[in-house]
């Protein structure tokens, strides 16, 4: 899939620049709608991490609505004024601002009894939550919803009683999906979670609905990975700043028919762009990847580095690996950034609860992000270097992210490893979700110095 890299900023005749992505508004609309439905529609409403097994509650009916905490935290962070209010409220409640940036935004909103849509619309009441259901992937995630259940009871008018809460313990290192003991442990919890959800809602769990949703979840994630693979091309059809919108449903609402439809349509559109040598960006003089979630309120840094230096971010372990599913270490010791086919594509029939639960567990343990949070330093080194090499980048932009300990884990070791392997690295400190904890002018200066020192720009 590799081609010769552009070396000049001048436009090449055979490349179509600044292509509009037709599906972009549909992705925005999808997100807007499910956040709006969460507050306005009837039915079962549950909240949890984007790492939660989203398809499991889908077994409760066709009117199930999900609020994924991390993307919702990012939406709050993006709306800076609202975020400042929520963060200050969280501080006042006694929660240290050093905690997960998404979480303290979320908690701050609960203490204010407010809910926010992606466009900044603020509702004065947080919706009723039937249950909190999450996955414990770091020190924080279960504690997040343990508190959320308490804060909802204490501060939100629509939740007069303690919100029922269940969390699934996610453990195991790299290739944990191959460890049947780990799979057994998680499947046992998921079965108990089904009973928990039935008790919390008074509804009967429907295996057929669940299995359909599980297949959707896998399809969304797999097709997203296939779409990301086009970024190996030169020019890369997409840039990461856009991908932050495109990947969002895969973490926030991936188990629906609409999510699958969107991702399949996106794949077709990007494939067409690839065939026509088209890109959403201008000339790509420099290609880079980033590391860790960005400071959401300051995405203009990506525009700055593109407009000033013709440097385009192709993606990151975060935007491709949070929910994408890749071959990874399958079949050897070296990581492969090749999309992983779904179990269905590999001939595994998902027709009963047991098989589907097991495949769903294995599928989710394949997420590259799992290798960041609970895997091994060596795995993250291999994954990142493989990305830099397979996608032929000029440098890596590392966000030393004070807003997420999971992503910050081992970052300096990985940076050192990249440098030792000849990959230039630009590091900056910031916070994914606390706009008070980021200095954009300082970063612009740092970018200028780096581009001048490293590339003579």
């Amino acid at each position: 899939m590799s081609t010769t890299k552009q070396t000049e900023t001048e436009e090449a005749d055979d490349i179509v620049y600044n292509e509009s992505l037709e599906l972009y508004p549909a992705f925005n609309q999808y997100q807007y709608q499910f956040y709006k439905d969460f507050v306005e529609a009837d039915g079962v409403k549950w909240a949890g991490s984007g790492w939660a097994y989203e398809s499991l509650p889908e077994g409760l009916g066709d009117d199930v609505h999900f609020l994924a905490g991390e993307p919702y935290g990012a939406i709050i962070a993006y709306n800076q004024d609202v975020s400042r209010e929520f963060l200050n409220a969280s501080d006042a409640h006694g929660f240290p601002s050093e905690l997960c940036g998404y979480m303290v935004n979320y908690w701050g909103g609960l203490t204010q009894d407010k809910y926010v849509l992606p466009d900044g619309t603020v509702y004065d009441e947080f919706p009723n939550i039937d249950f909190n259901f999450t996955s414990h992937i770091c020190c924080t995630h279960s504690k997040w919803y343990q508190y959320a259940s308490e804060l909802e009871e204490e501060y939100t008018a629509n939740n007069p009683e303690r919100t029922p809460f269940y969390a699934i313990d996610i453990i195991g290192g790299p290739n944990a999906y191959e460890d049947e003991d780990v799979v057994d442990y998680k499947v046992g919890q998921m079965k108990e979670a089904i009973e928990f959800m039935e008790a919390a809602t008074g509804r009967e769990f429907d295996d057929e609905r669940f299995i359909k949703a599980a297949k959707n979840e896998m399809r969304s994630m797999s097709v997203w990975s296939k779409t990301c693979e086009f970024q190996k091309l030169d020019p890369a059809p997409l840039e990461e700043r856009r991908m932050f919108t495109l990947y969002a449903p895969s973490i926030a609402r991936r188990a629906t028919d609409r999510a699958v439809e969107l991702y399949e349509d996106l794949y077709d559109e990007v494939q067409d762009m690839a065939e026509r040598n088209a890109t959403v960006s201008g000339p790509q003089k420099y290609r880079f990847i980033s590391d860790s979630p960005p400071p959401w309120a300051h995405l203009d840094i990506y525009r700055y580095i593109r407009d000033e230096y013709g440097a385009v971010s192709l993606g990151s372990l975060y935007s491709w690996g949070l929910t994408g599913s890749w071959r990874g270490f399958d079949g050897g010791d070296e990581w492969s950034w090749e999309a992983m086919p779904t179990p269905m594509e590999r001939g595994i029939e998902l027709e009963d609860r047991e098989t589907t639960l097991r495949e769903l567990v294995k599928w989710n343990l394949r997420r590259p992000s799992w290798n960041v949070f609970a895997g091994h330093l060596d795995a993250r080194k291999d994954i990142t270097l493989a990305m830099a090499e397979e996608f032929d980048v000029d440098f890596v932009l590392v966000h030393l992210n004070r807003g997420c300990e999971g992503w910050a884990q081992n970052q300096l070791e990985v940076s050192n490893y990249l440098k030792d392997n000849g990959v230039p690295v630009l590091e900056y400190e910031g916070n994914q979700a606390d706009t008070r904890d980021f200095d954009p002018s300082n970063l612009r200066s740092k970018i200028d110095s780096f581009m001048e020192g490293r590339f003579g720009e």
Binding site: G94, E98, K143
Partner: protein
Amino acid sequence: MSEYTSENYPEPALEEFRQFRDWVDNPHDYGRGWKERNDGYVIAFFCTYAPRELLYAGDMLPVRAYGGHRADEIAEADDHIFRGMWCPFSRDVLSQGLLGKYDYTDGIAMASTCLHLRQTYQSWEDHVIDEDDFNHYFVMPHGTQQVGGVEHLAKKLGETKAAIEEFTGQAITDDDLREAIEVYDENRRLMREVYEYRKQDRPPISGLEAMEMVKASHIADPVEHNELLRSVLDKLEDYDGPRRDPDFRLMHISSENDDRRFMYMVEEDLGFDVTVVTEEACVGTRDFWNVSHLTGEGPMVDIAKRYLDRPPCPNKDWPNRHRMAQIEELATDFDIDGALIIMQKFCDPHQLDIPRERDLLEEEMDISTLTLEFDASVPIGQFKTRVQAFVEQLRTAEMDALY
């Protein structure tokens, strides 16, 4: 601040506590000496969730890797760990490894716990140990209340046992395991018995001495530690030596805290008669308050249940909050006047629980708290002022209650 060194701490009345202090002062001398005496392996572990009895059954001495509490040493870790958000304990521990302080050890063992210590373990793995050293990661469930946790952990402990056997070339029998479990359980029972004396109006031991006793249990052979504990308990039964006479009984609730300078300052240098009478901390009750269950299902299940049922670290305390009940029980049983809530800067798990701890103590139990953020080397002068003000506030509250 030369007065804040162990040679200036009040000499313990009981010689056994002088021995604990010596081990804490010179942990590496102890480790080297133990190797010579026993021809065994010394393994560094990072978190008290590492099941030490399993290592001990394989003729290994588990020693906890601690920080050096020196600002000039902690910078060693700065090339490896993001200091802008990583807890100073995890950075300090790695620094000690990078500085070669643990060069006599034969490997490392880590239980899945917080991300911060996990990075310490992984960086240590990369930069400190040799390829042929022992190196094992215990898969310890985070959800200690979860269905299937005991069964899962017991299976994984079986894998650990196999890894130890492969390294040493010696089989570990069920009898070896039972013996190691009993040694460690005895250690826990004896320390808890010593703590009973801290409940007295005039406790015979200080908080500093208690901290040294517990920290020594992470350094020394548990058989030797047990001998001293039995001797301590014999003497305490008819004790007529010097005692503390506290006007103020404090408890500390801490993420990792082995800072003796701070304890000395609180108990000896405030200008008030203060004694720290108990703590909810991993260098303290959280580590040893429960013993193994004899389930009849085999030693691995017994060990698994002990670790999953122990007083939890906050990041393992969900969905129900068992920690708060433990804090409430300790605060009541040890009859405290106030609580020092101590967290390592950036320690997410403990930061997460602090608002609930304050709610419990201040609103539900009417016990005042002071929250302090620790770094590898604490600013003793500033903290002294703050703790003095806190104790002054406790005194004022007492006076108000009288009049």
